[in-house]
């Protein structure tokens, strides 16, 4: 269980990027739910915490694939693989994340030294 941030520092409609390995995005939806998913889009290295939160989905800020915060599923390409979801616990006003044990679907080049050209 990793402490993310105080609940009151994450207003509804906002996201927090937890600097884990790999990073995790924590969202507070407009209707008050808190979800955590992998922060890195499965298409390219983009931070989903910088994306656009709409209902229970976040749209990737780069190429508009949308991920369901409840399931991690992606709606349409260019991203093809889901992100992992992580359990969230709020205790004494602090948001904690319990990272998933499943293997992460990271985009090419992330975690590895980037190389190659177009």
């Amino acid at each position: 269980m990793i402490p993310a941030c105080p609940l009151r520092s994450l207003p509804r409609g906002e996201a927090f990027r937890l600097d884990a390995e790999p990073p995790i995005a924590v969202f507070h939806t407009e209707d008050g739910q808190i979800y955590a998913i992998d922060d890195t889009c499965t298409h390219q290295d983009a931070s989903l915490a910088d994306g656009w939160l709409e209902g229970c989905e976040v749209e990737c800020p780069l190429h508009a694939s949308k991920f369901d915060l409840r399931t991690g599923q992606v709606d349409a390409p260019p991203a093809k693989l889901p992100v992992r979801t992580h359990r969230v616990v709020v205790e004494d006003g602090t948001i904690f994340v319990i990272p998933s044990e499943a293997p992460a679907n990271l985009p090419p080049g992330v975690g590895v030294r980037p190389q190659g050209a177009a």
Partner: protein, 381 residues
Amino acid sequence: MSTTSLPPGPQQSLPPSLMSTLPGAYYTDPDVFALEQRRIFESMWFCAVRAADLPRPGAFKTVQVGTESILITRARDNSIRAFYNVCRHRGARISTEESGEVKRAFQCPYHAWTYDLDGRLVAAPNLTKMPDIDRVAYGLVNVAMREWLGYVWICLADEPPSFEEDVMGDVRTRLGDVAHIDNYDVAGLKVGRRIVYDVKANWKLIVENFMECYHCATIHPELTEVLPEFADGYAAQYYVGHGAEFGAEIQGFTVDGSSGLDRIPTVSQEQDRRYYAITIKPQVFVNLVPDHVIWHRMFPLAADRTVVECDWLYLPEVVDGGADIDRSVELFHRVNTQDFDACERCQPAMGSRTYADGGVLVPSEHHIGLFHDWLRGRLSD
């Protein structure tokens, strides 16, 4: 560029009735135009778009100001923002459209750097791996902006000149008092018609044409019918605070003198049945009549090409009510066409060897000399 030598003025002496115009090269020389772009259009307040053309957050327009393309949009808080249309990464144009609407961000089509409506860099590939990139410092570059009379004015100068002195000052010079234009509630009016003219002429020919009425009786039969005093050749711009009076049988400012639209209620008694004209340097012309306002914005694109966007503004209820504005618009649309045809007729002759020293101004045009003095002043030093 300080290496550009401006064409010299005429050498010969003139009879007292005449003053010289600018030499022909001022209207054709790309170096003069480049200097004008830098010292005038990129240095002064420039009237860019009608604020109502950006109805919602994310709506945008791009405009050419001097050598720069500027992106103007409305942010989430409804304020208007202007940016250089240049990606901070490797310089791609953010938008190549003249207008459009984004949902929530501008994304560069090259490597997908993504900017919010305040210009802040909000996302980019691998951005979280580069925490040292400041998202404001590498956001779109801001341009100074003012909203006045329902228009968005921008200024590319590092230190913009006083808007009150320059822009409002030109209105004051012509009308005697800025309050006189407030009576027309220009910001509260609505665009009833917009016509864009692509004029194959130097912008200064258009300014000079707009300043004088020596040509009115010859090329503007309809306008001279409505404003008989224009037949004497003295433009409304020759005097301070003078409005040309409608002819006795004229009912309204329309192509056939028939009655116009609903009068703007705050127009004063002394402004009724009169026509006022204002030049706001460097690229705006305004005509005020009791029932509408005609607002021209010039976009000088080359030494021999100027796009003029002209708005006919009426009371919102006139536009929304679907009133017939055709005869009202037609009068000045004809005037514009007649004027721009005249400017296009002059442009090819500006390069003639017989026009190297320029032409002459007759007494009813002598006030154009002030414009030439102003221009030379801006281009020298």
